[in-house]
Amino acid sequence: MPDSPAVVVSGLRKSYGSTTAVDGLDLSAARGAVTAVLGPNGAGKTTTVECCEGLRRPDEGTVRVLGLDPQDDARTLRPRVGVMLQDGGLPTGVRALEMLEHVASMYADPLDTDALAERLGLHGFARTTVRRLSGGQRQRLALAASVVGRPEVVFLDEPSAGMDPQSRHAVWELVRELRADGVGIVLTTHLMDEAEDLADHVYVVDRGTVIAEGSTAELLASGAAAVRFRAPRGLDVAELARTLAEGDRARRADPGGRTVTEDAPGAYTVQGDADAATIAAVTRWLADQDVLLTGLTVGRRTLEDVFLDLTGRNLR
């Protein structure tokens, strides 16, 4: 059991009435790593982690956390698993630090609440009731509560929601430290930069199932040689491809399979070498069409691009 992965989910299905929230989802998260479950709202992310937390019982499939069943082995698992719920789960009438100390009192050997509060900047509002905290302050408090019991696995459901950039940075730092200590971290997010900066492994989830997975590097590497740009919808991509190909011939370049596609309304991808001449040719052509270029990226894709490529839809 000490060697079992932090989390293994296989064939998970869960419906609410006639709505299928999770539809045959497989996922595995290692210890000492950050695993991101990335997807739009309603993709089934929260239901999946709630099944891992023992809060929901799967209709089908198996869930193992540290090799144990979150339902049948709940008593053994609870002290070893930390949870940060999407809605916080904080009672509104108590003071911030009091809540943290209360959660700490459930464990035999909790972290020092004072040091943890210092670490996450909770002291500034330690005696404020939860009701009066900002969204970011609540999130930091909820994160503190999820790690105060020295968990081996932590589930963070949308940890950065409503956070200011500074809080977010503090949260990310803490997550990296937990990882370095060997804690397995599973976080759900619909924020690309969060997954990109923080995660070792990403599962892209849509409509209750995994549509892509891999290390962040793997997901971003595929199709790296491309120019992606945003402009008004409905441009004549065939015409642009011809223009680019003529330019390639003129300078005796071999771009290899030059194609232009409109992946989603107003989002275009130019396959083939993404060199300076290509970019210049694309922007010149757009200028000739008298249309405004609103965004252009070269080479390195974002997870947003990955999601767009996979689903033809924007993540948000």
Binding site: G54, R78, D87, G88, L90, P91, V103, S105, Y107, R150
Partner: protein, 253 residues
Amino acid sequence: MTDDRTLAAPAWRRVASQTSFETRAILRNGEQLLITIIMPVLLLVGLTQTDLVEIDSPGVARIDLVTPGILALAVMSTAFTSQAIATAFDRRNGVLRLLATTPLGRGGLLAGKILGVLAVEIVQVVVVGAVALGLGWRPELSGVPAAIGAVLLGTAAFTSLALLLAGTLRAEGVLAVANLVLVLLAVGGGVLVPADQMPGIMQHVAVILPSGALGEAMRGALIDGGVPSFSVVVLLGWTAALGWGAGKLFRWQ
């Protein structure tokens, strides 16, 4: 191998911690204090020192008749109204789910809630009892153990009703219903006014309501030294039915 025995705090400490947390939350909340402590004391003073409400007390001092009913009402305000509202908002805010993922678990959470209710009731009995004694209350001391039993039974029945409401309705709905039901039962449920003094059919309805049964049980114990067995049967019946309903229908989210 590590297990929950070494990583979690001992069960008694988790429950004690939750009990203290729940008790403080109620005693610190202004609205909850109003309904659990101030309202019973005001009613006690109002019903004994004025003639605004007519209550016959043949052969018994008025305060001796009123105080057991006030204690019954105090139990209802804590076990039912206060608990229903607190649990409903904790449920809406995800507090129940979060605490269920800590070593406390759902069982510990429930135990902490029930013990928290009993702790607040001790405070109520001390405050109401002290005021009543100051006003000349002379309870039948031989009935105190029976009264404690009645309080425990009433707490079981009304906490079950609180959890049934809190686990099925929206928080705002619970807020309205829990207050309204308390007022209706206080006025027409046989708590303060003995059932046999109620008009017409209400006489027969009140004795089979949990409120009437608790009122009769408290009066029986603290005036005559014994609880009517009919009241015990009624309270047990309500506890079984409401407890079963709450267990079946309670939704954690």
